[in-house]
Amino acid sequence: MPKIMRCAFGCGLLVTAIVLLTACGSKKEAGADTATKPEDKVLFVYNWSDYIGETTIADFEARTGIKVTYDVFDSNEVLETKLLAGNTGYDIVVPSSTFLQRQIQAGVFRKLDKPKLPHLANMNLEIMKLVAEQDPGNEHSIIYMWGTTGIGYNRELVKKALGTDTIDGWEAVFDPAIAQKLAQCGISMLDSATDVVESALIYLGRDPNSEDRADLAAAEELLTKVRPYVRYFHSSQYINDLATGEICVSLGWSGDIIQARDRAAEAKALLDIAYAIPKQGAMLWFDMMAIPADAPNPDHAHAFLNFLMEPEVIAGVSNYVAFANANAAALQFVDDEVKNDPSIYPTSEVMKNLHPDIVESQEFSRDLNRAWTRIRTGQ
């Protein structure tokens, strides 16, 4: 017995020692890997999925000799949690403007070194001004892409349900009588309290950025009425489901719905997907590129931002992902089918009806999310 025990003890010690040794060893290796000496030309980018041109990264690497590690995420919340925890190791991140505003207040980002960004002159100042409330003086970020929150739909299925193949207003999803007819072929909404509640407030003719609890209550009442006709609330599932005809109407982001349209066309599914900016108005969103305060390679990050503000480069991205950029000089390089599509580049008349989203206070945010849970689950 004691002999066996001593044997086991010895083995245990040995195993522990080996584990500790290998752990230390690998730690050292990992440290050497991520520690960035000045001669290491690397850059860590964290962007949304499916959100860059086919050759953008390769072109940047060829031009500068900087090796890019490109990772993707699919939710602002996940990005925000990583940023607030700190030490993400990323040099470039792409939050939406409202999230960016809160993150700036939390001290997440470093100020841009503007002399290193000569191509800033190419940006469309009108659009940059729209985000100046979130990022005062545009000191921390540049607009990467922007778009609207509207309605995507399948013309054929909608025609079967409603008798018309055009949707042009919020009533399609917010009027219980119409939503009821569309319920059979499937309605989806973003699982995002801000986007859906603000859109409902626009439909009700109220200020979408209001923090008045009475406005919130009115939106909740409206959404509770249409809730039985909504198949699900999800922020990415609907891209596929619209493209395959699984659902027929989505309250979603312009770029995603246009992506669904292109996917349906690629699959030759003969599904005619359309995107509408509702006539009552819609929310604008901006995806912003910024540099975390603890970014390991800020110089390379600036080089990357400057590269992306070159007209041909950003036009290449827009042509590939079918999102609007905010680069005035790039417009001439954007394909006609993208540039002249009013669902991607809205006309100046429609632009007047679009509202930038403003960050809500922590207290209102909690009430909003609580209301959202009640709407979604009935509790």
Partner: protein, 347 residues
Amino acid sequence: MAILGFLESGGGHAVSRNAREVGDSSPFVLTGLMAWIKALGPYRWASNRLRDRGMSGRTAVISVPYLWLLLFFLVPFLIVLKISFSDIRLGMPPYEPFVTWASAHVMDLKFNFGNYAFLWEDALYRNAYANSIMTAGFSTILCLLIGYPMAYGIARSKPSWRNLLLLLVMLPFWTSFLLRVYAWIGILKNNGLINNLLMSMGVIDEPIVMLQTNFAVYLGIVYSYLPFMVLPLYTAIEKLDLTLLEAAADLGCRPTKAFFKITIPLTKGGIVAGSMLVFIPAVGEFVIPALLGGPGSLMIGRVLWEEFFNNRSWPIASAVAIAMLILLVFPIWILQRVQGREMGAHR
């Protein structure tokens, strides 16, 4: 720790047999290695020091899993507990520090019990806990009803078949859990496998909506956790002494009665172990309801996600997690105490 105990009682048989086999096949290597280790100065030094303090080799071996639990369970638990007493703020990290220094020698500890009070005030959290426990409980019963005959069948099959059948039970683990749940979307959706098949056969005209329903959630949980039920049941049933059933039959007991009087009580250990292995992860399940469930399926994993990501309230999210742990650990702890006492009484 409770799980470790159950595993030990359920799977002890198989493990000890394997250990013996290994020991038999390579005794020379092991003894050689042992002699080498024992000759090492550090080994002798360490074992002498430990013996001086009244620690035998046995204590040292047992301390390894305890060290593991300390490092990967207790320390993270304490960190979460600390955050749960904190308050939200705008910054990095997004909660107030627990310890502040009022002056060089005065340390202020701030306990904010408001987060727990908040959980109690809003019925949302209670409902989510109740709903999670109900969903997990119902799934566990389904797993047991499906898993028991499966395990029984495997244990009573020809020995040459058993390993193959067990392998088939474990085979799904070779594919990522997330992918397997995702695959169910393709099977259940409106123009998915089942609906297309039924419609092409003319059984139904309109697709049956199965995805985004509670049915899909139960299906996903039962499918994903069934192996955790089957494996401990198998080890328990395999150990069962068949002569007891023969004796019962000889004494005129019908097979059904013998099953409930003999087989079930003797495999209780496996039933409890399997149920715990299914129930505990199912309570906190997030992926399955998120992918397969409808908007109405409110489970605690989702509430936790929302607190953490949407409300950015790490303190309340931590309080939700701690409350869930307390809710789960105490019943299991009591159950284990009762079981331990019963086992003691038998001896």
